[in-house]
């Protein structure tokens, strides 16, 4: 018994270490991607003396006396500065894509559960249909139809990401709807919309928050995938995905060009996944169980 308690305490403590590491990684990335391109006097987009600057290995100083922490790419641009600039794009797209998708999903799910009837039937049929297609396939179809770019990627992430949250929120709101405090609020004369917004939703939003956190990492992965395939963020604007694509045929001559942005990507997604896992585990037992199957 004592050993079991000790091991569970240890796992709780190690969980916190893991979260601290995850938060540190994310914090460092956000800080660096904000500050580095701004402080650096090297232009991450401009192309200068290509012949003398291109494909310098990591930790070298070039002929102009500039130090390149991660080396340079095929056009002689500093990889570290580019990677941090790409971090802005990838992080912003991930957070915006996941937040907006969850927002839309919450609205659809809450309305479907609250109004019921045809609204419920139609919106959930559409959600099920979209869930039946692998998200990447849907994403590819949408992304290729409009002009590729930053806003297209975010819109497409939202269009293909709201269904899971909608289903979660709908189930939660349906469960909350028959609670006494909802009846009490209605009996006190609150309007239907107010009861939903102030009483039902706050009690039904937990799973959606977890799904959003886990969704950030997923959105960043999908964005990088689209950019890798050439239908996401377009060069010269860097994103981790198109930087990896740019280093693809250099994998022999200059492996760091493709490998470095991948590490940033993995670290970010890992941190988001770990934080999402923790949030999920902290939620009450039964919701955690359904979430584990759903998210």
């Amino acid at each position: 018994m004592t050993s079991a308690t000790a091991s569970s305490e240890r796992s709780v403590r190690s969980l916190r270490t893991v979260d601290a590491i995850a938060l540190t990684i994310l914090g460092a990335l956000v800080l660096a991607s904000t500050v580095v391109p701004w402080l650096s006097h090297q232009d991450p987009l401009g192309i200068g003396d290509v012949l003398r600057l291109r494909l310098l290995p990591p930790a070298t100083t070039d002929v102009n006396g500039n130090f390149h922490l991660l080396g340079t790419d095929r056009f002689g641009r500093d990889l570290f500065v580019r990677m941090m600039l790409a971090g802005r794009v990838s992080l912003a797209v991930g957070v915006a894509g996941s937040l907006l998708a969850s927002g839309v999903g919450t609205m659809v799910g809450a309305l479907a559960a609250w109004v019921g009837g045809a609204v419920d039937a139609v919106s959930m049929a559409i959600a099920d249909a979209l869930l039946a297609l692998p998200r990447l396939v849907l994403l590819l179809v949408c992304a290729a139809l409009w002009r590729p770019g930053l806003s297209t990627v975010v819109i497409v992430l939202v269009a293909t990401g709201w269904m899971g949250v909608a289903r979660l929120v709908r189930a939660e709101v349906l469960g909350v709807r028959s609670r006494p405090y909802v009846d009490a609020a209605t009996a006190l004369g609150a309007s239907s919309g107010r009861v939903l917004w102030r009483h039902a939703l706050p009690n039904a939003i937990g799973p959606a928050i977890v799904a959003t956190t886990l969704g950030v990492g997923n959105a960043i992965l999908l964005e990088s995938g689209l950019s890798f395939l050439g239908i996401g963020i377009q060069p010269p604007r860097p994103s981790w995905g198109n930087m990896i694509a740019g280093g693809r045929d250099l994998i022999v001559a200059a492996p760091w060009v493709a490998i470095a942005p991948g590490f940033a990507l993995v670290a970010t997604v890992l941190a988001c996944t770990l934080l999402g896992d923790t949030l999920r585990d902290r939620l009450a037992g039964e919701t955690a169980a359904t979430l584990r199957e759903r998210v």
């Binding site: 049929a125 039946a132 692998p134 290729a144 995938g225 890798f228 693809r248």
Partner: protein, 323 residues
């Protein structure tokens, strides 16, 4: 059962209609891509008329639906061959890749999860958790490039034995026509890297799930009773523990298909395998609507079929689901 099937068919129809609507909503149609820059407006108009793109959306939809019911997926704009043919060429490649990966995913993932759950809290558990979480978080195209760097270029540069120098491009060796066993061996050699990527990423996800669900079962009363009765470890783990988590794993088997599809799209892109993923990506870039629609149809049908199969298989392993 019939209701399930009808529901699945209705969903399939809905998916296809939504895809159709999305494609027609987008600015720019196939004709803008197909006509040469030197063509006049009249040429473009004639091409549109030939392709039926000048009719109203309702007419296009009706034509497409009737043809689909006849099993006709239309003619590819860019490949100049029937869509069904292009799909028939590509589908076996992806199915083979997917089936091999899916089998390996479970053969590797479940034992890892079981091992971790049994050794829970030990260093091996931490190490494996770290490894699986890392692989799970890494994009498959990046892992693919890393493997290519090591096993294709690295193996040659560092003088690894020829058996470890794996091909990183296409499905067969170029040039020499191989027959019989040699041809099969050649395809298998080409498949090692793509399949390991897909199976590795999949197995990491399965192991993460299997670890937590098996750990829950291991601490339950009936497992303690089994130990107390003197059941052998194999008896406990197979008859009691794995039998309990099997239904969940079967559901997971069906649910892991979309992830596999996504992974195979990237893997086919990196390794230049002529499968569904590459066909679809090329078709999207060329605005080849009929091929995009056809590929989406196949993907949706595959996912719905897998869900249906999962539902059907559940009662076989879970006596509580038998009615």
């Amino acid at each position: 059962m019939l209701r399930r099937l009808a529901g699945a068919l209705f969903l399939l129809w809905l998916v296809l209609t939504i895809t159709f609507a999305l494609i027609r909503l987008a600015p720019g149609d196939a004709a803008t891509f197909l006509v040469p820059p030197s063509a006049t407006a009249a040429d473009a108009a004639r091409l549109r008329a030939d392709l039926g793109l000048d009719r109203s959306i309702a007419v296009q939809y009706a034509r497409w639906a009737v043809a689909l019911l006849h099993g006709d997926l239309g003619e590819s704009f860019a490949l100049h061959q029937p869509v069904a043919r292009a799909l028939a060429d590509a589908l076996p490649v992806s199915l083979g890749l997917g089936a091999a990966s899916l089998a390996l995913t479970f053969l590797v993932g479940v034992p890892i999860g079981l091992w971790q759950a049994v050794r829970r809290g030990k260093w091996i558990d931490y190490t494996l958790t770290m490894a699986t979480t890392l692989v799970y978080a890494a994009p498959s195209f990046w892992l693919a490039l890393a493997l290519v760097a090591v096993f294709t270029y690295g193996a040659a540069a560092w003088g690894l034995p020829p058996a470890l120098r794996l091909p990183a491009f296409a499905m067969r060796s170029p040039g020499g026509e191989l027959h019989g066993a040699a041809a099969v061996a050649d395809v298998i050699r080409h498949a090692i890297l793509p399949v390991s990527i897909l199976a590795g990423v999949g197995a990491a996800g399965i192991a993460r799930y299997a670890r937590s669900s098996i750990a829950d079962v291991l601490s339950s009363d009936f497992v303690r009773t089994a130990w107390a009765k003197g059941t052998s470890p194999a008896g406990v783990y197979f008859r009691h523990v794995l039998a309990t988590v099997a239904p969940a794993l079967i559901v997971l088997f069906a649910l892991s298909l979309p992830g596999l599809v996504a992974g195979s799209i990237f893997v086919e892109a990196v390794f230049a395998w002529p499968g569904m993923g590459r066909l679809m990506v090329n078709a999207i870039v060329a605005r080849d609507y009929p091929v995009v629609m056809g590929a989406a149809t196949i993907y949706a049908a595959l996912v719905l079929l897998a869900n249906l199969a999962g539902d059907l298989a559940l009662p076989l392993v879970d006596p509580r689901r038998r009615t």
